[in-house]
């Protein structure tokens, strides 16, 4: 009798691990759908019972409120107020991301410094800030720093007579003319400066002589801005205290300052850790090779380490940028008129809550998705092409 080969017993389908996995997934999905369906049904029923609007018609109603630092009239529709809130959110996001990146990078580098003082200060900053809740930091910045530590308007602080600093805002010298003129001037100057820098870099690559291409670029930019300003007779306007407010220049809202400062301080502590980790992740041989060809400390950092570190840091930085944008909604707690504050005000004044907040959610989602796209684009550009 030949030994019988034990053929694997056929597993019934209901005990097949593959079937079970699929079934579980489908069940979970169904449960989620069922929950949303139930919630939506409840919402429909409740809304129908008390005749609450469910569409976006409320956007055409008059807003009935005004926005500080903006000439939106109270009779303009809610739609316009939402647009202003959206722009204010973008303002905070752009300025916050730029400043947080610069500050975070500097502190990240400081944490790796050979100098004990610099290194310790960096560590203390990161550990102190990173472990605080952002809302608390923001409340402190608003109530303790801006309201209490900044002078009242009667004894405003006037550094160099250029700025007016008080707890009613910070007024800075500003360009006279339309934003479009300013934009075109700066853009064309930036473009020319970029071309000049590119030419210098190409020359440097050809001759092997370091000639501070970017410094030349920045100098060109400043020179061109001044030149355009002189040629077209634009002027600057200095702010001054006028009664219980300021006139002239550009006034930064006190809550704008508190919000941007808190977001920058908070996010930079996270960015510093990302930068530090990314620098450490750059292969040791790269730094040693830079030393071997006698690059200076700053050249080594600028030309060898940081470009490679940012390639590693990019995805994590993108997350921090998204966090900063979403965290800007905390501005509503300190009366900064960004998107969330606008939504809250308009809901309190008769706009239906569910459509208004759904719209707000979608706008935030849109901003975040666009940011992700941009970050991913740069990430792909920076990433090593592997073959």
């Amino acid at each position: 009798m030949s030994p019988q080969l034990s053929t694997p017993r056929k597993v019934p389908f209901f005990r097949d691990i593959r079937t079970l996995k699929w079934a579980l997934q489908i069940l979970a999905l169904l449960a989620v759908f069922a929950m949303f369906y139930w919630l939506y049904g409840n919402y429909q029923e409740n809304v129908a019972k008390s005749s609450i609007q469910t569409d976006l018609r409320f956007l055409d109603n008059p807003a009935n409120f005004t926005i500080p630092g903006n000439d939106l009239d109270q009779s303009q529709p809610v739609r316009d107020a939402f647009v202003e809130g959206f722009l204010n959110t973008l303002r905070v996001a752009f300025i916050g991301i730029a400043l947080a990146t610069i500050l975070g990078t500097l502190i990240g580098i400081a944490r790796l410094s050979k100098n004990f003082m610099v290194r310790t200060l960096g560590t203390v900053y990161v550990e102190l800030v990173r472990n605080l809740p952002l809302l608390l930091l923001l409340t402190f910045m608003n109530l303790a720093v801006v309201l209490q530590a900044f002078p009242r308007i009667e004894n405003a602080w006037l550094p160099l007579d250029l700025f007016v600093v008080s707890n009613r805002g910070i007024a800075i010298p500003w360009f006279i003319g339309s934003p479009a003129q300013l934009g075109i001037g700066i853009l064309s100057a930036a473009l020319l400066a970029f071309v000049v820098a590119k030419i210098r870099i190409r020359q440097a690559d050809k001759t092997g002589k370091q000639d501070r291409a970017w410094l030349v670029g920045i100098a060109t930019f400043v020179f061109l801005v001044v030149l355009i300003w002189l040629l077209f007779g634009y002027g600057w306007e200095l702010p001054y205290v006028d009664g219980r407010g300021t006139t002239g220049g550009l006034r930064l809202d006190p809550s704008f300052f508190a919000l941007v400062a808190s977001l920058v301080i908070y996010t930079s502590s996270h960015i510093a850790e990302i930068v530090r980790g990314s620098i450490l992740a750059v292969s040791r041989g790269q730094g040693e090779a830079a030393d071997a060809i006698a690059l200076s400390g700053s050249q080594k950092m600028r030309l060898i380490i940081l470009p490679q570190a940012f390639r590693i840091a990019m995805p994590a930085l993108g997350n921090q940028y998204l966090n900063l944008i979403k965290n800007s909604s905390l501005g509503a707690t300190i009366s900064y008129f960004e998107l969330t504050q606008i939504a809250q005000i308009t809901v309190g004044n008769g706009s239906p809550a569910v459509p208004a907040f759904s719209l707000t959610l979608l706008v935030y989602l849109g901003i975040s998705l666009v940011t992700s796209l941009v970050v991913n684009f740069f990430n792909r550009r920076l990433a090593l092409v592997e073959r």
């Binding site: 504050q341 005000i345 809901v347």
Partner: protein, 320 residues
């Protein structure tokens, strides 16, 4: 709603915790004030027990969402009755408890003596209120270019005001009076300007579409007004019920009214206990008592909030 309130054994009343005179927390953590007492009036009428109230503190901007979602049974929180709120927020406003108007409070040393002098001023208001709209309208009507800042809660406005970030604090005059009385630098440091620039009937609200519950709450409020008109107070309600021969008062208090075919108690089918008015007056008091308890000490006059036969506009429909 009425059935669920009776089943739950308590009224969930949407209120607040930091408005002197209207609703503040006392040392033992209880809500005290004009609005808080009207929450108790409703509980006394519906459940026969003025303390069967669950006070739920709400932020101004959240109050209608709380009402719409059923998190509260009734909103008694300095809320102005407006057409938009009646129509779009799903709120059903009832008998106003306080007829108010919006005014402006400034620091006494600011030199402002009238609203029209406040050109370019920074005005601080509460977020999500009719105050924002009224101030914006007044500013454009008088061409004053106000910068209007809205804050979540009165505590935050107070901080901003103390630090000199605001020139004016605009709200309903009753609120301003309450806030002024509790100002850290003393009430003399603040002045309420004489102009009043809006109509603000503050009324309790229930969710649209529940007539029985709305009627119950409405008649609970009206009972305090009617009681004052009859001269019935929490102190004399028992003796009046036992001694009076006035048919109107006997009906009102749910006492037996002698008739041709024996004594009968009037039950107007409001889904309320027949003695609800007695319970309201006995346990909380009439309108005048509630006003005197909480608002007179702040320095508020009865003014519009007097009875109709005393120069005011408080007028309860007859109870028969």
């Amino acid at each position: 709603m009425l059935d669920s309130v009776i089943a739950a054994g308590s009224v969930r009343c949407g209120t607040r915790d930091a408005l002197p005179g209207f609703a503040v927390l006392n040392d033992s953590g209880e809500h005290v004030g004009f609005d808080s007492d009207f929450c108790r009036v409703i509980a006394a009428a519906v459940l026969g027990d003025a303390n069967a109230v669950e006070m739920i503190d709400l932020e101004t901007a959240d109050r209608f969402t709380a009402l719409q979602s059923g998190a509260i049974d009734v909103l008694v929180r300095n809320t102005t009755w407006t057409a938009t709120r009646d129509g779009s927020e799903g709120a059903n406003f009832l008998q106003p408890t306080f007829y108010d108007g919006q005014g402006m409070m400034v620091a006494s040393d600011s030199g402002y003596s009238k609203i029209s002098a406040m050109d370019g001023a920074i005005i601080c208001v509460a977020k999500g209120t009719t105050t924002e709209g009224n101030a914006a309208l007044e500013s454009s009507r008088l061409g004053l270019n106000w910068e209007i800042r809205s804050f979540d809660e009165t505590d935050l406005i107070l901080e901003a005001f103390l630090a000199g970030q605001c020139d004016g604090w605009s709200s309903d005059v009753s609120q301003l009076t309450g806030l002024r009385s509790a100002y850290p630098n003393g009430s003399d440091a603040l002045t309420i300007l004489p102009e009043v620039f809006s109509k603000e009937p503050l009324a309790p609200a229930v969710l649209d579409g529940d007539t029985a519950w709305a009627q119950a709450v409405n008649w609970a409020i009206l009972a305090t007004i009617q009681a004052e008109e009859f001269g019935i107070t929490s102190a004399n309600v028992d003796s009046i019920r036992d001694t009076t021969t006035d048919v109107g008062i006997l009906r009102f208090l749910g006492a037996e009214v002698p008739g041709s075919d024996g004594a009968a108690v009037l039950d107007p089918n409001l889904s309320l206990p027949t003695d609800f008015a007695y319970q309201v007056v006995k346990q909380v008091g009439n309108y005048g008592e509630i006003f005197a308890r909480h608002l007179t000490p702040l320095g508020l006059d009865r003014g519009l909030n007097s009875l109709w036969n005393d120069g005011g506009i408080l007028y309860a429909p007859p109870y028969r």
